[in-house]
Amino acid sequence: MEPLLRMSGISKSFPGVRALSDVSFDLMKGELHALVGENGAGKSTLMKILSGLYKADEGDLYLRGEKVTSTGLAEMIRQGVGVIYQELNLIPYLSVSENIFLGREPRTKVGTIDWPKMHAMTEEVLKPFKLDIKPKQQVMSLGAAYQQIIEIAKALSLKAEILVMDEPTAALTGNEVDRLFEIIGELKDNGVSIIYISHRLEEVHLLADRITILRDGERVITKKRGEMSNDEMIKYMVGRVLEEQYPQYDSKAGEVVLEVKALTKKGICDNVSFQARSGEILGFVGLVGAGRTEIMQTIYGYRKMDSGEILLRGKPVVIRNCQDAVMKGIGLIPEERKQQGLILGMSVFDNAALSVLDLYSTLGVLHRSKINDEVNSMVDSMNIKTPSVKQLVVNLSGGNQQKVVLAKWFIRHCDVYIFDEPTRGIDVGAKVEIYRLMQNLAKRGAAVIMISSELPEVMNISDRIAVVFEGRIVKQFKKGELNDEQVMEYSLGLHERRRA
């Protein structure tokens, strides 16, 4: 049978980088074909060629057996290719209807927008999803999962036969993920073909009919579901055997560095108390939206607390803003790498040096050579892959970008490091490196706090774990004391319901 989509011998180069070389890929009708690989393996580039954003240097693209000669975004949409990017592309202030029919709004006879018709069409498009979404609703008021579904609905309303989903579950919580998977199943039953990009291998095993692994711009292997174990997949992805997904180390918890007492901020957190010790990693789990990020931001002075106390090495401190926090030895590596962690248009050097310019200057004049030495040795020791420190960070892969954010904070020696989702959207190899870096900080005597939505990661990397539910810490335990299911119960608040 002729596949719905066939890409053959695709090559693509960018100045200085060969992003894809001789990659072939195909997709059958109604199939879910997962595309897996480390960051920088070429998945996104391949999909951008399919979407018409890039033009391949070599190779051909066939749809329904016919060679596609003129690519381009509009042409590929017309051909039935819909791409849902990792960063959702909805306009927050516009309504659901306007987002779905953006640029092709139904018109009245005099040329104004035919609102009733547009809303009716939206209802029609959303009907199969059986969700409580009103066409007039502002997109901003919807959660990430619903926004994702609107993107899918939009693609389907454009008669998409091929859907590309790039890390669709990255921002979703457990329930939302389940709902999305149901919808994916329904889509497949209706003959929609899906290309699914994900770092979460469990999902890939669960959903994919076939799996293709890319590495360094080349196709390594394509196999049917069940023909490859997790370990094999990882081996193909990284091209070497990872000794261990979660490196172990001997933690030596020392004195209490950071103590938070009864931290309260209305609508965000309620009576939060915990201690972080030197030499240990304290994990924070909970559902997305439970308030973990907000609690840390409040400690860091990014938000104002209503009441509560923060003690550093036993002494009460007042943290009015982020500057105070940094001066007192707290570093926060934010969740949103691109929006909050990096200055994308600036160099690796400028980004990494940002947090220490005050330490290496006299009366505001910088000691350039000293900063240079610091940054260069940090880039080397962290194994950041960049042609030079002058490279703009926007040109680096996700894992290397994250390392630049970490470098910025490692150069400045903090007593407390708060990591907010440090491994989100990062490939397996880079994850292990980041775990090791966090462990080294702990060994160096820092107190390390890690927020993560990946339960296996928190359970394996943390020495102690706090579970957050609706802005409160509902359970704290030592590594190994609880199993995954028990932690999920606390995260979902089930323990309280049971008691009640």
């Binding site: 570093g331 909050q340 962690g341 940002l354 910025k408």
Partner: protein
């Protein structure tokens, strides 16, 4: 093969410089007077009045802000310096210092309204345009203040080693700004804030302070320019500097500094300012009508931004 790519890159990165040199070559052929020492010094001297402000404006625009009130700050600080010398008999140096403090003070108010008041820079400085102009009119009662001592006028008409004093001040300011932008925290934070303010804030840097400082800098630069202008005209008027913000912003933008912040250079601003000065001068030499000159200048600004856009897209 490699060589051609290098030329392309060269053209892309130095587009405005090449345009500037081309215009100079063309003008030298069209007017025999153009390429004389006298005329060149004249161009730079005329350029320096708004060029100095453009140096300060580069800081503001690099943070992603804008200051529309520079012309009004110029008028106010110039009038106050003039008034102090004429009415209070203050020494030129004292009057100059007070003028600079006035410029810094208004810049600080602008900066605080932007950072602490959280009002858009466009709105704050738009308001300041009329406030400062109004204060100038109140102070001068609408009359020009003229007739300064030779020492003060030296600032506008004097020469050191054959180079006009305004040119020396301008070049010194460019050099100082280059140093600040590349070798001080203030400079690096200026770029960083324009690149991603949120990241800078989360890195524990006092964004409000540094962002306010760029408005102080442009305020001070406007005062410097005011002193030179009054010294040169031997008069300070309430209407001085009207419309200067346009030439100043044009110089910065033509020089390749992005209006959304984070990207640009002081050397670019220098070239941008000189380009505007040269075209003004050249068109005057060629006897082109002042009405038509305006059209050319406007087209130049748009052309420069298109050039910049092409460069950004090809990268």
């Amino acid at each position: 093969m490699k060589k051609t790519i290098d030329y392309k890159q060269l053209l892309k990165n130095n587009g405005i410089l090449i345009v500037f040199l081309l215009i100079c070559v063309v003008l030298s052929f069209l007017s025999p007077y153009f390429f004389t020492t006298n005329n060149i010094l004249n161009i730079i001297r005329q350029t320096s009045i708004y060029g100095i402000i453009a140096v300060g404006m580069t800081f503001v625009i690099l943070t992603g802000g804008i200051d529309l009130s520079v012309g009004s700050i110029l008028a106010l600080s110039g009038a106050i310096a003039a008034g102090m010398m004429k009415n209070q008999g203050a020494a030129p140096l004292v009057a100059a210092l007070v003028a600079i403090l006035v410029g810094a003070g208004i810049g600080l108010i602008n900066g605080l309204l932007v950072t602490i008041g959280k009002i858009a820079p466009f709105v704050v400085t738009l308001g300041m345009v009329t406030i400062a102009r109004g204060l100038t009119l109140i102070y001068t009662k609408g009359y020009p203040i003229s007739g300064f001592s030779p020492e003060f006028r030296y600032l506008g008409g004097g020469y050191i080693l054959g180079i006009p004093v305004p040119v020396i001040v301008f070049i010194a300011m460019v050099a100082l700004a280059w140093f600040i932008l590349n070798h001080t925290r203030l400079g690096r934070y200026t770029y960083a804030i324009g690149g991603n303010e949120e990241t800078v804030k989360l890195s524990g840097i006092n964004v409000k302070f540094y962002k306010s400082m760029v408005y102080v800098i442009v305020g001070i630069m406007s005062s410097f320019s005011a002193l030179i202008l009054s010294a040169r005209l031997n008069s300070a008027e309430a209407v001085a500097g009207q419309g200067y913000e346009l030439d100043v912003i044009a110089a910065v933008v033509i020089g390749g500094t992005s209006l959304s912040g984070g990207r640009g250079s002081i050397i670019g601003t220098l070239i941008g300012a000189l380009l505007i000065g040269t075209i003004n001068n050249g068109m005057n030499l060629l006897g082109i009508s002042p009405y038509f000159q305006q059209v050319v200048k406007g087209a130049l600004i748009i052309g420069a931004v298109i050039l910049d856009r092409l460069r950004a897209e090809s990268n």
